[in-house]
Symmetry: none
Subunit: 259 residues, 2 copies
DNA sequence: AAGTGGTCTAGACCACCCA
DNA sequence: GGGTGGTCTAGACCACTTC
């Protein structure tokens, strides 16, 4: 039997006269049920028919609310059984072979970084999604740097890391040593795998000034999400703008798979 | 007005008597509309009320189907306006140890090539060097093509092949089938390995016209040298200009080699 | 004004799970 | 068998965009 407190709690967060759509109010009310611990992990929320009756709405409206929480990964429906609160764990299997990085092909050159800013902030919706952070759940560390090769700027990089996983790096001096190195040393995070996309874009005015190039000059935009060994979720999302006039990617093609 | 072909196409992929839920059939039918290029990017799919009438289902059922495609990022709804096919960047893998390519990850898209020219000519010094041809020793085949995805041009490609190794392909129709396929069939050349570089540049006037983009738009320039199993020298050098607004590279990062 | 997607109803029957 | 979620109907009114 469900605790008696669920129904009063839900109704307290619902106002049918409000301009806010009912399904959104219901979604947030049910979310509160979980966040406040009124319904614990592995337990069920009330049946859809009960919710519909309590709120005085149709079952379809309840489903619209609950299904969104299911898609967010907060709830799990089991056919014929009920709707359960999930353990807070997100899946993220990584596979595929191959490696690569933006630091390759710079061998023999002198490199350094300049820190532009390192702040703890609230993630935007996009960043929260990339890091698989529940919206508003927590803070992220935002690190903005310029990387130099032989004294000229080569890339502008903005990294985002979940605060609660990576806060020890806040004490690091990233001017002289690498982010990944410090993540391993101070936060115990060793990067394991990830995914990146590479796009061709032109420099906007901000990047043009930072990279000392004209606006409109071609650049690479590299967006990478990295996973650490220790945790089953992303620990870094980084966007890197790289000068197209000073950098190229090199790829060795090997054997099979060629039509 | 929508092409007449949408309705017949959709109904062909729908069977109300099937045990498969209607909304799933509708979802896949609409997906087919996009993948087959019957509805192109930036265009709208038919209104929900039309779809409901055509399929003989209620509008809620149509919405259940369409909303899933919206969540997948394939469609975008604009209130009061319509449901639009999103402008998606195509992607190509970039395995460090394996295939590459601009031809993968185009699954479900209609692709074809247009031959601009196929001539036997004397190699320039640069091309001769790439193909490891003694200067003036022999001739090369120069093949220039535009590649299309869903009717819009995606890349402009110029391939160079040593004449004495590859002349059988001169009889091939490269409009319909791949260069590598024909090299294998008619010249007995199977591509084995190679090396490619990827640069970010902007379109010049020639490429802008061929790719139907403005001059100055960002592009990738991919330069690749390929070796065949049978011979110990390059058999193809190809330069490919790829539209940056329609294409991105995707790379899976795996384990080691991370600084 | 006409057409679009957004929200919502009050039911219905089904397949599935558990006691 | 009784309760659960899965699918589906045939409407309705609203808010928004476009013309």
């Amino acid at each position: 039997m469900l605790p008696l407190s669920t129904k009063p709690f839900l109704l307290k967060h619902f106002n049918p006269a409000s301009k806010i759509p009912k399904y959104l109010q219901i979604r947030e009310a049910v979310r509160g049920l979980i966040e406040k611990g009124i319904v614990l992990e592995q337990e069920t929320i009330p049946p859809e028919r009960d919710l519909a009756e309590w709120f005085g709405v149709s079952r379809m409206t309840v489903r619209q609310a609950v299904d969104e929480l299911v898609r967010e990964g907060l709830l799990e429906k089991r056919l014929g059984d009920g709707t359960f609160v999930k353990d807070q764990k997100l899946s993220g299997r990584m596979h595929g072979a191959g490696s690569f990085s933006d630091e390759i092909a710079l061998s023999g050159k002198r490199t350094h970084s300049k820190m532009l800013g390192q702040v703890v902030t609230r993630p935007t919706e996009q960043i929260a999604k990339k890091l698989e952070i529940e919206e508003g759940e927590t803070s992220v560390i935002r690190i903005e740097r310029i990387r130099y090769v032989n004294e000229y700027p080569i890339s502008h990089q903005i990294s985002y890391l979940p605060f609660n996983l990576c806060y020890p790096i806040l004490s690091a001096d990233l001017n002289v040593s690498s982010l990944y190195h410090h993540l391993a040393q101070s936060a115990g995070m060793v990067m394991k795998a990830g995914k990146e996309t590479i796009q061709a874009i032109v420099a906007d005015d901000v990047n043009a000034e930072l990279l000392q190039i004209p606006v409109g000059q071609p650049c690479f935009l590299l967006c990478r999400t990295m996973y650490a060994e220790q945790v089953n979720r992303p620990v870094e999302y980084v966007e890197t703008m790289i000068r197209g006039d000073k950098f190229m990617f090199v790829n060795q093609i090997d054997g099979k798979g060629i039509e």
